[in-house]
């Protein structure tokens, strides 16, 4: 079973091409990092897969079916700065939003939905902040709330856009532990990530992206110096240092 299949996906904003001819096939059960330089189209790739962009061509299948929000198969963590954190609501309420797809229009959340939301807050270590208004949370805490909301979706495939940006070290450890736990439960997780230092530790599958896919596969096969230089257009200085270190050793 494939978690994600992308065929000939291209995206343009106005006249600028952002993604060109992207093709991907990734089996279920992997924790996948989407890696590439600034402007490579990483966030755009996720948004296009989730059917959020009008100007796209190509086909996307998730769990070998076209995306249908009513299936509740996909969970999503947007970039933290994508929302207005001064919005009047509290942490538990935001997590509960992850249940809205299951609850349905107009109906109220049930006691069970609230219990699930509370459990998800517990999973990210935020149960003590359930009643705290979201504007009063730190960046790391906001990110945990977003992750809890995605967990509350009880999805099979998760997409996360830069969940490690601007968070403290403890939050980063909590998030990666939860992602590995999701993988252990057989879920598939896709994470936009920009820190090359941690990428190989965090992910067992790597997609290297720079407007098109330059490599995709198990980390030990794809996360190589040559592939990285190709994705980053030969601008990776620290890679040269590691090379010279190797020759000295």
């Amino acid at each position: 079973m494939d978690a994600l299949q992308v065929k000939n996906l291209s995206v343009a904003y106005e006249e600028k091409v952002v993604l060109q001819n992207v093709n991907l096939t990734i089996p279920v059960g992997h924790l996948t990092g989407i890696i590439g330089p600034n402007g490579a189209g990483k966030s755009t790739l996720i948004k296009a897969i989730l059917n959020q962009l009008p100007n796209k061509t190509g086909a996307v299948h998730i769990l070998e079916r076209p995306l249908n929000a009513k299936d509740h198969t996909v969970g999503y963590v947007p970039q933290r700065n994508a929302v207005d954190w001064d919005f009047p609501t509290n942490a538990l309420d935001v997590v509960l939003m992850g249940r809205y797809g299951h609850i349905g229009m107009i109906k109220k959340p049930s006691a069970k939905d609230k219990q699930i939301a509370m459990d998800c807050l517990k999973d990210v270590g935020m149960e003590a902040f359930a009643d705290r208004s979201i504007g009063q949370l730190s960046g790391g805490q906001q990110q945990r709330v977003f992750l809890a909301r995605a967990l509350a979706q009880e999805a099979e495939v998760y997409f996360m856009d830069e969940p490690f940006v601007g968070v403290d070290a403890a939050t980063e450890r909590t998030i990666i532990a939860i992602l590995k736990d999701l993988k252990a439960k057989g879920k598939s997780v896709f994470v936009v990530h920009h820190d090359l230092q941690t990428a190989a530790d965090y992910f067992d599958w790597i997609i290297l992206l720079n407007q098109t896919i330059t490599a995709s596969g198990p980390t030990e096969q794809t996360f190589t110096e040559d592939n990285l230089q190709e994705a980053y257009g030969g601008k990776l200085f620290f890679m040269d240092q590691t090379k010279s270190n190797k020759t000295f050793n």
Partner: protein
């Protein structure tokens, strides 16, 4: 003092205030308050055209005309923002003044016609709740009740749509349709209130109670209830005060009442009010001074 008609007027004003307070909170959080202002001004040409076409001043007919030009104005603002380099503020200012200008021209034409100067359409500019007929108030009240009901039904969906539209779309909410519904209800709120409050100041009923209520809580449910209460209170006070002295229009009095509530909220609200915030800042500084002193010892 509370004659039969004034009681009806009061009920109508309170329902209108609740409807505008609820709907206005969603528009305010969506940062669409000024679109409401343009939509309200744009109701004027619709009223004049409806009168010129049908030669009647039945409220439902005038409301229909107002709704059409209001909705057209909102659509034009969205079209300009979507299809040109103009930003929302310029588009709103442009559409508001053009529609209002057309409205004034048409109103002058109405007033110059023989029957027109008795039509009372001028009252639509600043509002005249106290002299509304009972049949008109029934229209106003049912329309306000419909708006209140819709705001309660779609509370959860609008909350998510405004907070995080991308996520909302991702879980299968019909975000575009919800947005259109909210805009349509804003137009309906305006159209409902124009005779009582007037086109120029109707937007104040959408904006001020919501903005004042925001100081009192960080919880959307509480903000909605507070905003509805402020709207109802301003509506009731405005109507009562303007009915005491026949020379006063309702709209300006309602705005003054709402603005007073806003000022009280701004200074004295315990959650986000000015005084409460200053005190918190001061306490925080003092604690740090004590801490630093302790560190130096």
């Amino acid at each position: 003092m509370l004659t039969g008609n004034l009681l009806w007027v009061l009920i109508g004003a309170i329902l209108l205030g609740v409807a505008a307070g609820l709907n206005g909170t969603f528009a305010f959080l969506q940062k669409q308050s000024l679109v409401g202002d343009a939509a309200a001004h744009a109701a004027l040409p619709g009223i004049a055209i409806a009168y010129l076409v049908f030669q009647q001043k039945d409220l439902p007919i005038l409301m229909l005309g107002a709704a059409i030009t209001s909705a057209l104005a909102v659509y034009m603002i969205q079209w300009i923002v979507g299809n040109s380099k103009l930003k929302a503020d310029a588009a709103i200012g442009f559409v508001l003044s053009v529609f209002f200008g057309i409205g004034i021209v048409l109103l002058t034409i109405v007033n110059q016609s023989s029957a027109g100067n008795q039509s009372g359409l001028n009252d639509f500019i600043f509002g005249k709740a106290a002299t509304m007929a009972k049949s008109d108030l029934v229209w106003l009240s049912s329309s306000a009740l419909l708006i209140i009901l819709m705001c309660l039904l779609f509370f959860k969906e609008w909350k998510l749509m405004i907070f995080d539209p991308v996520f909302a779309k991702g879980i299968g909410l019909p975000v575009e349709r919800l947005r259109v519904l909210l805009t349509a209800l804003t137009v309906l709120t305006i159209v409902t209130g124009i005779q009582a409050v007037g086109v120029i100041l109707m937007a104040a009923m959408l904006i001020i109670p919501a903005a004042a209520a925001r100081f009192w809580s960080n919880h959307l449910g509480i903000i909605l209830v507070t905003s509805a209460f402020f709207g109802a209170l301003s509506g009731a006070l405005g109507t009562i005060i303007s009915s005491f002295r026949t020379g006063l229009s309702t709209g300006p009095i309602i705005v003054l009442c709402a603005a007073s509530l806003f000022l009280i909220s701004y200074f004295f609200a315990p959650t986000r009010g000015f005084i409460s915030k200053s005190l918190k800042k001061k306490a925080f500084k003092q604690r740090n001074v004590v801490k630093e002193a302790a560190n130096h010892e």
